[in-house]
Amino acid sequence: MAIKRSAAVAFALGALMALPALAQDKPKELVVGIATFLSGPASVFGVPGKNAADLFFEELNAKGGILGVPVKPVYVDEGAGTNQLISEYRRVVQDQGAQVMFGAISSGSCNALAPVAEDLKVVNVMWDCGTQTIFEEGKWKYSVRTQGHAGAEMMATLLYLMKTKPDFKTIAVVNQDYAWGRESWALFQAGLKALKPDVKIVAELFPKFGAPDFSTEITRLSALRPDVVLSTSWGGDLDTFVQQAAARGLLKQSTFVLPLAESSMERLGAVMPEGVIVGGRGDHYFLHPKHKNSAEMQSFVKKYRDKTNVYPIYPTFHMNQAVTGLAKAYEKAGAANGGKWPTKEQVIAAFEGLEFKSLTGTITIRSDHQGLEDQLLGTTKRVPEYPFAVYDKMALYPGKLVTTPVGEKSLEWFAKTKLDLVNDKSIETFDYSK
C-alpha cells in the first residue's frame, strides 16, 4: 500500500516534470503561441481568429514556412481570465518553446501581456487589441502591433459622421463597460468637442459587458430622442442592442453609429436597416471596394466560407496581418543576417519600418511599433445579392491621416482636431457596386 501511494506521488510529480522541454536555437519548427478567446462572449472574435490562423499557417507552411522553417500554432484561451492567461502565456513560451506570441484580443490582455513579453524576451505581436495607450504610455521593446489602434478607428468614425451628418445637435452613447467602451468614448468625445463644441451629450450609458437586456437603456434613449446614438459595442452585446433597438423603432429615430458593426452584419441579417454608420476596426471588409476582386481575397473568402460557412470578419483580417507581418519581418531579419535564422531581437528590429501588403491594403509599422492601417467606414444599404446589409457611401481614410503621430497622446491629439480634416484630399470615397 505504501509503495502504491508513493507511486501515486511520483506519478503526480512526474506529470509536472514531463511538461518542460527545451527551446532550440536552430528550430525544427517555429512555435507561435496565439492568445485568443476560445471561451466567453469574446469568442465571437477569438474563434474566427483561430480559424483564420489555421488557414493562414497552413498556407504559409505549404509554401515552405518561414525561412524554410515550418510554423506551428499553439492556442491559449484568453477567456480563462487574465491571471490564468498570463501563466498559460508563460508556459507556452518557457515550456513549449514559443519564440513568437500573438497576444491578444482584449486590450486588458494586451496591457497585461506586454510586460510579460518584455520579461520573457519573446516577440509579441498584438494581433487584434486596439487600446492606443499601449505604445503611447509605455515603451515595449518586444511588442509590436500589426494593425491600427482605437485612436485611428475613432478618428475615422468621427470624421465620417461629421461628413455624412454634419448638423446633428445631440448625441448619446451606449458602450460596454470596460476599457474599450470607456476609452473609445473618451477619444470620440474629445474630438467631438473640438469639432462641434455645441453638441449636447444627452446620455452616457455603460451597461455591463455581456448584458442580456438593454430595454431600460432603449427606453431612455427613446425618450431622449438624440440625433445620434454611438455604440462601440460588439459581439453578442451589439447584436442584442441592435435587435432590441430595431424592434422598438429606435433605429429609425436616431442615426446609429456602430464602428464595430462589420463583425455583426451577417448575423444581424434583415434586422440591420439602411442608413446606419458602420465600420470594422480598419480597412478590412470582404467587399472592400478596391480589393474584393483580388485573387487573394477571393481565395481567402472561399476557403474561409468552406471551413466555417460564414463570411470572414475583421479579426480574420487582423490575423492575416499578424501572420503576414511576422513572415515578412523574419524574411527581412533573415536577409539582414546573411540568410541565417535571426534572433528574436533581430526579428523585432526588422518590424520597425516594415511595410507589407495585407488583404485590403498596406500596413506600415512605425518606429514606436504601432501599425498604420487605413480605416474604412460606410453606411448600410440593403442589396439583393446578400441576405444582410452591406457598406455603401464608403470612405477610406489613410492610416497616416487618422493615426496619432509618434510621440503624441491620442486624447490630446483628438482635442486639437481641425474641421478641414473632415474633407481631406487623401480620403477616397466609393459607392457600393456589385
Binding site: 476560445l38 471561451s39 466567453g40 462572449p41 469568442s43 465571437v44 477569438g46 474563434v47 477567456g79 452616457e204 450609458l205 455603460f206 451597461p207 455591463k208 455581456g210 442580456p212 437586456d213 430595454s215 431600460t216 437603456e217 427606453t219 431612455r220 427613446s222 425618450a223 459581439g235 453578442g236 452585446d237 447584436d239 442584442t240 435587435q243 432590441q244 424592434a247 422598438r248 423603432g249 429606435l250 455583426s264 448575423r267 434586422v271 460564414v310
Partner: protein
Amino acid sequence: MPPEMLFLAALDGLAYGSLLFLVAVGLSLIFGVLGVLNVAHGSFYAIGAYVAASAVLAAAGMGLPTWLAFPLFLISAILVGVVVGGTVEALLLRRIYGKEEVLQLLVTFAVFMILEDAQKVVFGTQPLFANAPMNWLGTIEVFGIYYTNYQLILIPLVALAVLVGLRLFLRRTSFGRAIVAVTQDREAAMAMGINATRIYLFTFMIGASLAALGGALSSATTSLTPGIGSGMIVLSFAVAATAGLGRIEGAAVAALMIGLGRSAAVYFAPEFDVLIPYLIMVVVLLIKPEGLFTTLQTRKV
C-alpha cells in the same frame, strides 16, 4: 425627470423581473425539495435558450409559420428539463443526497463547468439569435415610447401563469401536495409512503424546465453567447436568497424588486445597476437572515 419616466422605468423592470422570476423560481423549488443549491441552474437556462433558438431557426428555415415558435419554446423547455435535468438528477445528484452540503454544491458546480463547455461544442461560439417571435408580436406605444409586446406583455404573462400554475399544482394536485409535504418534513413524508426518489426526480425536472423556459423566452430578445448562464445563476441566487429559499411567491416579489431596482438604477445611477441585485440580497440577508418570506425555526433538543 418627468413622472411618466418613473412609470416607464417600472415597465422595463417588470419585464426583466418576470424573466428573472422564471429562472429563480426553479432554483428555489429545487432547493426547497431536494435541499440542493443547484449551481448548474444557469446552464439549464443557457441550454434552454440555445435549444429554443435553434428550433425556431430550423422551423423558420423549413418555412413554417412564426407563431409555431411559442409552442416550440415550451417543448424545448420541457425537453431540456427532462433530458438534461433528468440525467443530472438520476445519474449524479441521486448519489449524494445523504452527503455533506458542500459536496452536493460541488457536484452541481462540476456539472456547471461541464455544461458550459458542452454548450460551446454543440452550439458554437458565434452569437445566436432568433428574434422573429418578438417581432411577430409587434410593438405597443406607451407615452410615445415603443415597447415590444413580447417583453412588455408576453413575458410577464408567462411569469404570472407559472406563478399561478405552480401554486395550483402544489396545492391542488396530489403530486404537488406530496412535493409540499417533502419540503416541509422529509422524514415524515417518507414515513407516509411518499416516494421521495420520484418526487426528487420530477421536482428537479420541473425546476430545470422552468430555467430552460426562461432561457427559451429570452432567446427571442437577446443574443446567445457562451457564458450567458454564469451571469444568470448568481442573479437567481440573489432572487432566491432574498425571497427565502423554497419560497415561490417570495421569489416573484424578490424578482420584481430586483428588476425594478435595476431599471431605477439605469435612470438615476447608471453606474450602479449591476450592484443592485447583490445589494438587495446583502441588505435583506443582514436584516432577515432566512430571507424575506421564511420564518425562523428552532431545532428541538
